[in-house]
Subunit: 299 residues, 2 copies
């Protein structure tokens, strides 16, 4: 049995459109209504046949949906929730895919009193944006974290939905989610944005040199630092405490490493560099990355 027969997605960017494609592929009989404010995006949705109906306004898209998924930047969730509040069908469940959860849980709760809210975060993505960047297999074997205030029939149904899409589901406290993701996603992005900024502002090394010789490691950081600016601005504004806490830890460790370099402590360096290999091994064993060197880039 389908967990939901009628689904609405608000926002047809990378994640919204991937979700639409994955639903089409795994649950083709679901009636799918989507909305997006940008006429160019709506035209692409029609051209790519990503939904049964596409609307301009979020309110119009949700009227008979059993599940509504908000796929917009974290900072835009509250306004969208306010827009759909008066239009939701009785019993509708509202979920989202935002990268920060405590704030979204609070925002949706405030805007949608009495509505079943099951915030979600598929830990999967790329550095690209928009409806053409999406693909159906994005969530395959990735984790989707659900952070409802209380677990129950509503979160069970949303869990069943993500399982059908090929994801593995985990329930977690929203605040804990935000601490975990601060480490595995938010801090890496912050560092990548920062180092790319630093590299492009030096006087002793030109920008064209940075670009030419980027294959030594830098290019990987530029890929992450090519992610959507608004999405990431909203992540940092809305997960401030956990990001600052993790960043503080990182800075301490980096200063210790700086000291080891300054004093020529080769053993300290080698010990750390050996320890980090084990983590990589575990990530490959857990199926969260491929073993191919450099991801099989053509050299």
């Amino acid at each position: 049995m389908l967990p939901f027969a009628r689904v609405a997605i608000i926002g047809m960017g990378l994640i919204g459109s991937s979700l639409a494609r994955a639903i089409r592929e795994t649950m083709p009989t679901v009636r799918l209504t989507v909305s997006d404010g940008d006429p160019a995006v709506r035209a692409r949705v029609v051209a790519l046949d990503l939904a049964d109906d596409v609307t301009e306004n979020a309110g119009a898209a949700v009227v008979d949906a059993e599940l509504v998924v908000l796929a917009v930047p974290v900072g835009a969730m509250a306004a969208i929730a306010a827009e759909i509040a008066g239009e939701l069908a009785p019993g509708a469940i509202v979920s989202d895919v935002g990268s920060v959860k405590a704030r979204v849980l609070a925002d949706l709760g405030a805007a949608l009193p009495g509505v079943e809210i099951v915030p979600g975060h598929p830990v999967a993505g790329t550095e690209k944006s928009g409806p053409d960047a999406g693909f159906a297999s994005l969530f395959q074997d990735r984790w989707c974290i659900l952070t409802p205030a209380v677990a129950g029939p509503a979160s069970d149904r949303v869990a069943a939905f993500w399982t059908r899409l090929g994801a593995r589901v985990e329930l977690m406290d929203a605040a804990h989610h935000d601490r975990v993701l601060a480490v595995t996603s938010h801090l890496p992005h912050l560092i990548a944005y920062s180092i790319v900024g630093t590299a492009s502002d030096l006087e002793s090394v030109t920008r064209s040199e940075v670009i030419k010789y980027s294959a030594g490691g830098f290019r990987d950081f530029t890929r992450i630092a090519a992610s959507d600016p608004v999405m990431w601005r909203d992540v940092f504004l809305n997960n401030k405490d956990a990001v600052l806490e993790t960043l503080g830890r990182f800075t301490e460790d980096l200063v210790a490493l700086q000291r080891a370099i300054r004093w020529g402590e080769g053993d300290t360096l080698e010990a750390l560099f050996t320890r980090t290999r084990a983590i990589r091994r575990s990530i490959i064993d857990e199926g969260q990355d491929t073993e191919e060197p450099d991801f099989g880039r053509k050299h």
Copy 2:
């Protein structure tokens, strides 16, 4: 005409064995002698037919070579140079592939007085090590930087050699090379090692959570942080000044970003995140990376 008819490679790890494969492919008539201290590595060299002769001692490998390439960690170059000093044929050119150049230029100069020295650094690699990790196309369309004390016929021949291997060649002052690579390679590796270390030492987030949810960005850092510990220890010990200088700049910028997050300065964040996208664009345009999202990882 071949730039060199007889070549010796000392060290058959990732880079040495890739070089051997590339020579076999692009200059099959070159007589290739290699050496490696590890009997298991020598056995692999024979099994994979990577060279015409393979020796245990570096001295024995170089006796009639016109070009000798040292492909060992930067900290091992001086000892190898001392080992081969009495064995070199008259007119032999000594080069290397080390990731740091000022120290190698000084070390080789001191150990090999009167010998033509043309230090080199192919800006290409992966996180893997050893003879089985090498492949012939590693240097294709990548830059190889040569840092001789003075340019002349010897550096011209080494340049012609790398061009035959498919690389693009650039001459550079050794100290400048070390500043450029501190930015495009050494700092990124340092940061990656550091963040992976931080993430595995937290109390509030378990290591298994870090591994499970690594697809949000962290896994890319773990790949870089899986690189060879000894090679990277030697890089940081031998390019201390440039690395500490660049690290200082990075830390300053990161602190500014931390402040912007603390004070909720969304515009500052968005402006930086937008600027970094342009650098990514240029790297793809320059052919130093692929445009494929996430390098076409299977999700």
